[in-house]
Symmetry: C2
Subunit: 218 residues, 2 copies
């Protein structure tokens, strides 16, 4: 480790810190990344140009490269950001204790908020709409996609396991299988949302799936 200049205190946190040395940045990295994410969600990888990314972020091309690397790296960082955001939006619902039906209902409501947001039409789910397509040829993206699937399956499974322990589900219920159906419902909602299926219908799909998973009783 031969390095004269003191490494700045790991500027991962966005604390302004002790005054950097050169010309100050004209952009906020996390704001710019959010704009890039918007574009990639709207148009996918190939149809999003660096010119558009530059215009949306307010950063010119060299700054983009300096901050995030080339287009593929920016795409991957956008995807990471998307997953972080989605995870954060669902974390509490998966953590807090509540009846299984309510928990599922709230998860699907959050998912719908994510998929239907967007000014120029519903942006859908990044994983389903663009990342999965890239996954077949890009091992790094594929690993992220697979990890996302596994994480969601696992979270749902532990919900069902807990519910089963609490007697909300019959003893014959298989948490792993129910979890895959819960994930499948997320996926079908994500796809249909992108085709502008109205929210009411998507909510009905979620409701029906919950009934099947938890028993039609109310």
């Amino acid at each position: 480790m031969v390095q004269k200049t003191k490494t700045p205190p790991a500027s991962g946190s966005d604390a302004p810190g002790p005054r950097r040395r050169g010309r100050p940045r004209a952009y906020q990295p996390d704001v710019a990344l959010a704009k890039a994410l918007d574009l990639f969600r709207k148009d996918g990888f190939a149809a999003t140009s660096l010119d558009e990314l530059s215009a949306a972020t307010g950063m010119n091309r060299p700054s983009l490269y300096g901050a995030f690397g080339d287009k593929r790296e920016l795409y991957i960082k956008s995807y990471q950001r998307y997953r972080d955001d989605a995870r954060a939006a669902m974390r509490d619902i998966f953590r807090e204790e509540m009846p299984i039906r309510k928990r599922l209902h709230r998860i699907y409501a959050v998912a719908l908020d994510i998929y239907l947001s967007g000014e120029a039409g519903p942006r859908g789910c990044f994983t389903v709409m663009t990342a999965a397509s890239e996954a077949v040829a890009d091992p790094e993206i594929r690993a992220m996609v697979l990890e996302g699937f596994a994480e969601l399956d696992k979270a749902f499974a532990s919900c069902f396991r807990l519910a089963k322990d609490k007697g909300e589900l019959p003893a014959t219920a298989d948490p792993a299988v129910l979890a895959q159906i819960a994930s499948a419902t997320i996926h079908t909602i994500a796809i249909r949302a992108r085709a502008r299926v109205p929210r009411k219908e998507l909510e009905a799909i979620a409701k029906g799936a919950i009934d099947v998973m938890c028993g039609a009783g109310r």
Copy 2:
């Protein structure tokens, strides 16, 4: 209808017909369209160039335009071809009489064949992988996607209705809801297939879903 030249007998059918007038075609339209479909499934709309399409079909650019129109039209015709093929592959299974479990099992087997085919990795489902993404901005593609969803939901629903009538399902079963879960299972399998989830795992997901939809009994 002012038209001197006799219209060739609606050359929709590929019958060689009564000898056309000018230079004969060097390509077979349906073979070329299949090649184009392969490319669009692999890379999506934006990442597939006309040069690649030209090379794959063996047709040069002007011939492509003459036969199929511009890139978007070719994409749409490829999608129509995909849907026709998929419909044909499933038609008999939806038509013939058989137990609900067996029917579902066979449908998922055919779906897996479609999604996992491809030399350079699984090509996934056209609707899920690329058409749904385009659907948000292109009304014509959107209409096709929505029609596809409705058609699949309907086909599944009538299977479940029949099974219910035959006493294979409890009287409380809701065919429409079960159909949406069957479709959701198709969708989750399509997405995961593209991320190279192995066939065995996808079959397990289908098996689990069938158990939930039809009752775990064997």
